[in-house]
Symmetry: none
Subunit: 219 residues, 2 copies
């Protein structure tokens, strides 16, 4: 089961997109891979023939058992290399992604396992994301309550503390959703409100109640 670089990039993208919600749509994939929907359809057929995913035309797609196994190994390589770049080569945590995007496709089993040993079997990559082990197992994601984050930290929303319509209304109004990236600017002692800066947007203020309802991971 040898995969090309393109196939691996598709598998990994599907893996990440299907994490939260059900089937992954063609358009979602096209956007995520910076390609066109027609190209995605072609590749989905090819990966289906390789039994890496379950695909029904117009119904979107999910990884098969084998596909998920492959995805976990790609993610493992990606995150191990990110750890290496930051921990050994003194890269900044914000400069490693593109390089790891290439290194992840060097798939020598021996290389990956020896690298893992050399690094001391790290459990998290520089962004706080868990690194799957040889068997594809990873520890639950490192998630923090936004209220506990220190100013200057860049975070990404990964879940909310309730599903209440009131909370979701407020989040929509403030343009905050799952995977929104934000920089924590300042915390005010008076009312425990938090000033944040959403990526490509303005500074806004978040109440104590709202901050307590948001769970984030380090980016």
């Amino acid at each position: 089961m040898n995969l090309t670089v393109a196939e691996e990039n598709y598998i990994k993208a599907i893996f990440h997109l299907q994490q939260a919600e059900g089937n992954v749509s063609t358009n979602q994939l096209a956007a995520s891979l910076h390609t066109k929907p027609a190209s995605v359809t072609d590749m989905l057929k090819k990966l289906t023939n390789k039994n890496l995913l379950n695909y029904k035309p117009y119904q979107g797609v999910r990884l098969s058992k084998e596909g998920k196994k492959q995805a976990l190994m790609i993610v493992r390589r990606h995150r191990l290399w990110e750890f290496f770049l930051v921990d050994k080569l003194q890269f900044g945590w914000d400069e490693v992604h593109e390089v790891a995007e290439e290194l992840e496709h060097v798939s020598s089993k021996k290389l990956v396992e020896k690298l893992d040993s050399f690094l001391g079997h790290p459990k998290f990559d520089p962004h706080g994301d868990p690194i799957p082990d040889v068997h594809g197992n990873m520890v639950a994601i490192r998630q923090f309550n936004l209220i506990d984050i220190q100013p200057g930290t860049l975070v990404e929303v990964c879940s909310v503390g309730s599903q209440s319509a009131e909370l979701l209304e407020l989040l929509r109004h403030k343009n905050i959703g799952i995977s929104t990236e934000m920089l924590i600017m300042k915390k005010f002692d008076f009312d425990h409100s938090v000033e944040i800066k959403i990526k490509n947007s303005q500074h806004i203020n978040i109440s104590q109640q709202l901050a307590q309802a948001l769970f984030v991971k380090l980016v």
Copy 2:
């Protein structure tokens, strides 16, 4: 000037084949790259258009100035990764070539320079071959074929003539490696074999074929 993996492999192969002198032939290249002469001709035209080499139909090929520069950077990456694999990941020197063959194509400038620093700017790879520096310069050592050394001379192995698993297996069996010191004892005219004495070890006999695959420097 962004090169594909295939283009880089061609450039590197031409670089190594033209070392001796003279133009590199289409057939030589096809053999070296395990491809067909027709494919080589196609690629030579393409690389000529990119001004990486000077090619006249039927006359063979040489790298241009720019081509040589590119080649030296590919060789630099290859050898730095080989050093990394042996020195940091505990690979055997006979297991690194294939992996380095892939890693050499990850061409982030920043990655290569930081890796070089991390490794302590090594001057030689695990096979005794010199590693070009950032500017493409590499130390020149006066290197002789063991078959040409006169009896009574003390030498040190500094590189091997091929990376084949068969050669490396034989060397391991005879306990010969890079930087092994040996005294040349006697040369036999009958089969051109050579008797040597490895430092702190016994006298052993080396076949003509093996002697021709070993490069040494005077100690």
